[in-house]
Subunit: 507 residues, 2 copies
Amino acid sequence: MSERFSTDRRSLIQAAAASAALLAPGAGLAQSSRDSDREAIRRAVEAGHEESVRRIREWIALPTIAAEGLNIEEGADHMARLATDAGFTGVRKVPTGGVPAVFGVLDAGARRTVGIYFMYDVKQFDPAEWSSPPLEGQFVDVAQGRAIRGRGAVNQKGPEGAFLAALHAMRAAGRRPPVNIVLLAEGEEEIGSPNFKNVFRDAEVLAAMRRADGVIIPSASQGANGSVTITLGAKGIIECELVASGERWGRGPARDVHSSLKAQVDSPVWHLVHALTTLVRDEGNTPAIDGWFDNVRPLTERERALVAESARNRSEEEAKRLLGVQRWIDDLPWRESLERLVSQPTVNIEGLVAGYTGPGGKTVLPARGVAKLDLRLVPNMTVEECLTKMRAHLAARGFGDIEVNMSGGYDPTETAEDSNVVRAQQAVLTRSGIPYNLFPRSAGSWPGFVFTGDPLRKPAGQFGLGHGSGAHAPNEYFLIESRDPAVGGLNEATMGYVDFLYEMATI
Amino acid sequence: MSERFSTDRRSLIQAAAASAALLAPGAGLAQSSRDSDREAIRRAVEAGHEESVRRIREWIALPTIAAEGLNIEEGADHMARLATDAGFTGVRKVPTGGVPAVFGVLDAGARRTVGIYFMYDVKQFDPAEWSSPPLEGQFVDVAQGRAIRGRGAVNQKGPEGAFLAALHAMRAAGRRPPVNIVLLAEGEEEIGSPNFKNVFRDAEVLAAMRRADGVIIPSASQGANGSVTITLGAKGIIECELVASGERWGRGPARDVHSSLKAQVDSPVWHLVHALTTLVRDEGNTPAIDGWFDNVRPLTERERALVAESARNRSEEEAKRLLGVQRWIDDLPWRESLERLVSQPTVNIEGLVAGYTGPGGKTVLPARGVAKLDLRLVPNMTVEECLTKMRAHLAARGFGDIEVNMSGGYDPTETAEDSNVVRAQQAVLTRSGIPYNLFPRSAGSWPGFVFTGDPLRKPAGQFGLGHGSGAHAPNEYFLIESRDPAVGGLNEATMGYVDFLYEMATI
C-alpha cells in the first residue's frame, strides 16, 4: 500500500503515518470510526489549504486549449503529475487520436470503486477582456468572499483541485480512502470531446472503469445563495460548421468578386442563409429537420414535477436579470419555459462569418460563408442519428453541397434518481445542511454519455460543494475563503468530496 | 491670367512662355492650330514624364481612408496643393459634414467649361496581402509593360495624375487649356459618398459647376487588350448594415449567453436570418422587398442592342475564368446574363458577423447579429425611396426592430448617348484608333448622380486612356510605360485628356 502513497520524498513521511494509521484499531469504514476519521481529515484539509491553493494557481498558469493546440503534452504531463502526487498509481497518458487522456488508479483495497472524470483543458480567453491577467489566478473579493480569478478557476481546475485536496488530506490524516478511485482526465472537453470515447479501446482503462460503481466530475455546484441543483442528466450536443462555397456549389464565384456582379452571379452566402432557415421553424425556436423529433422522449410525470418544484424554488426575476432577458420563448410562464428548456432539442447559431467582417462595408460578393451551429439533443436522440438526418435534410432541399463539418459532440446522458451517485450527493448535502433540488436534465452538455452509455452504463453526474462563476467568460473565479456560511469555499468543497467518497462506500 | 499660371517660382517662367504663346498669332482653338498645339503639348508631356510619375507616387504615399479616419485633413490639403500646382485658382476645402471636398477653378477664358470630379481617398488595404509595400508605388512589370504598384494606383490617383499632367503639359507648352475647368474632389468616395452632395450648399461651388457643359472622372478605361467600354451610366447603391439585437427586439438576451439557453430564449441571430430571407426570392437572386420594382425602368431597345453588341465583342470564357464562375444566374446564356447584369437591382450580402467568429466553435447564444448589405439600384429607383421601402417591408413582417444603418450610397446615374461628354469620348478614341463599344450601364456605382441629378442635370461619365487593375484588391497597379501599342501608358493617358478637353471645346 505504501507504494501507492509514496510517490515522492515529501510524501514518504505521510505514507508512513498513513500505514501506521491503517494498522491501528478502528481504521476502516465502520460508521463508528467515521466521525473521528472525518475530524482528522478536516484538520488535514485546513493544514493543507495553502498547498491546495498553490496547486490550483499553478495549474491555472498552464492552460491547455485544444482549439489552439496550446500546451497539449505539457498539460497532459502536468495532469499526470497531479494525479501521481495525489496518490494515483500507474498514471499514464492514453492516446485517443486527439489530445491524450490521462488515466490512473487509486486502489484502496475497498469494496466499492468510484470513477472520477477530470478535464484538464480550458476555454479560449482574451486577456484584454479581463480585469487581471487570466493565467495569474489573482485573489479578488467577490460577494461571497475571497476568490481566485483565472481561466479554468471554476471550469474545472478549482473543483478538481478541491477533489485532489481531499485525497491529499486523507493521506496526511493517515486515512485510506473509503473507496477505490479510477481517474480519467481528458484534454479536449472544450471542443466537444471528439475523441474521448476512444480511451476505452485501451483494455486496462476499460477494465478499470468497469469496476466503478458510479462516476462524477468535480464541479462547484453551489449557486450564489448556496443552494445546489442536482441534475439527473444532460443534453447531448453537436457542434458543427455549415460551409457554403462557390467551389463546392458549382454556382457563384470561386473567390470573392466585386459585389456589382450580384445581378449576374449566384451568392453562396445567400445559399447558406436559405439553407439555415430550412433547419428551423418559429424564427429558430423549433428544429424543423426531417425526422428530428422521432426519438425525442417526452418528459415523464416525475420530471415535470421536478421542474415544477424547481420553478417554485428559483427566482424567475433573478434568472431574467442575470441573462438580460425580458421574455422567454413564446412568452411562456416560468415553469413552462423551464419545461421547454429541459425537454426541447435546439438548433442554435453560435456564429456567422462571411465576406467582409470589419468596420463599415466592402463591396464584395463573398465566395464562402460559414454558420457555426450547436445542436442540443435530448434523450433518446443520438449524435450519429442526428448528423445523418441533418445531411439528408439539406440534400433533399438542394443544399447537399453545403459541408457539415462536425467539430465535436456527444449523446445525451441520463442517470437515475435512485442511483448511488445521486443518493450519495443527496446524503452529503443533507448532512451539510445545504438546500438542494433535483432537476431532470441540464440544458448544457458534458460527456457523461461516455460513462452512462455503452459499454459502461454507469450512473454519472457532476457534483461538488463550492461556488464560482464565469465559465467560458472573462473574470472566471472560484471561491476560496467564504464569508457566507451558506456557501462553501475551498475547504468546504474539499470536505464535500471526502463526504461523498464515504457515502459512496456504503450507499 | 498669369496669376492663375504662376503659383510657384518654377512655373513663373512657364507662365511667361504661356502668356507669350497666348498672344502669338494662331493661338486659340482654331482647328488650323490644333495639330501644332497638340504636338507641342505632346513634347511637354514627354518632358514632364518623370515629374508626373513622381507626383503620382508621392500621392500614393499619402493614403486617405475615410473608413479609418486616416489622413483626412492631410489628404485634403495635399489634394488642394496638387490642384493649385496644376493651375487651379481659388482652391479651397469645402465642408460637407464629412470628409471635406476640395474645389478649384481654372478659368481659361474659354467658351466652354468642363467639370472634373476627383476622389482623393482610397480603399482599405492589408500590407500582408501585397507583394510590395502598398504605399511605396514600386515599379513592377506587368503583361503590358512597366507599372506602378500601390494602393490608389488605378483607383484613382494614376488616372487623376495623368489628368493633372495634361494641365502641367499645356502650361509648359505655353498653351492655354481650350476649356475652363471646374474641379471638385471628394475624400469619401470609398465609403459611398455619404456627404458629397452637400458641396452644393456652397453657392460658389454650385454656381461654378452650373457653368460646366459636362463632367468626367479620370479613369483608366482600357482593358488588357486596349479596348474601351464607354458606359452611359451606372447603378446606384445603398450600403447598409442590418443589425438585430436582443436589446432592440425586446426578445432574446441583452448580451451573449450560454447556448444551452436556446430552448428557453429567443435568438436575435435567427431573427436576423429570417428577416434577410424576406428581402429576396430565388436564393437571393431577385429582390422581394415590397414595391422594389415599382420604378424600375426596363431596358430600351437601344440598350438591349448595345448589350448584344458587347456580348458579341467580349469573351464569355475569359469573363468566367477571371471571376472563377462556372455558371451565370439561372444558367443564362452570355447575352442574357449581361442584360440581367445591367438591368436588375440587387440585394447582396457583403458580410455576416454574429457571435463567435474565431476558429472552431464557442457555445454562445449571441445577443446581436449584423448583415452587411449592398443594394444596387437601377433607373429610376432612388436611395430615399428604397431605404423607406426596405424599412417598411421589414416592419410589415415583424422585423421593425432591426436597425437599417446606411453607411453610404447614391442614386443611379445616366448620361445620354448623344451628350457632349459621350461624343467627345468617342471622338478621342476614334482619333487614337482605339476600339470601343458603348454599354448601357455599369453594374458598379460611382456618384455621377451628383452631377446628372438635381440640381445640375449635367452629362457625366468616367473616361480616360490607360490601363490598370486591382482596384480594392491587393497589388493594384497603373500602367506607366506600355510595351503594347494597343494599350496606353501614362503619356498616352495624359494626351487622351488633352484631346478630350479639345473635343469638349468644340463638340
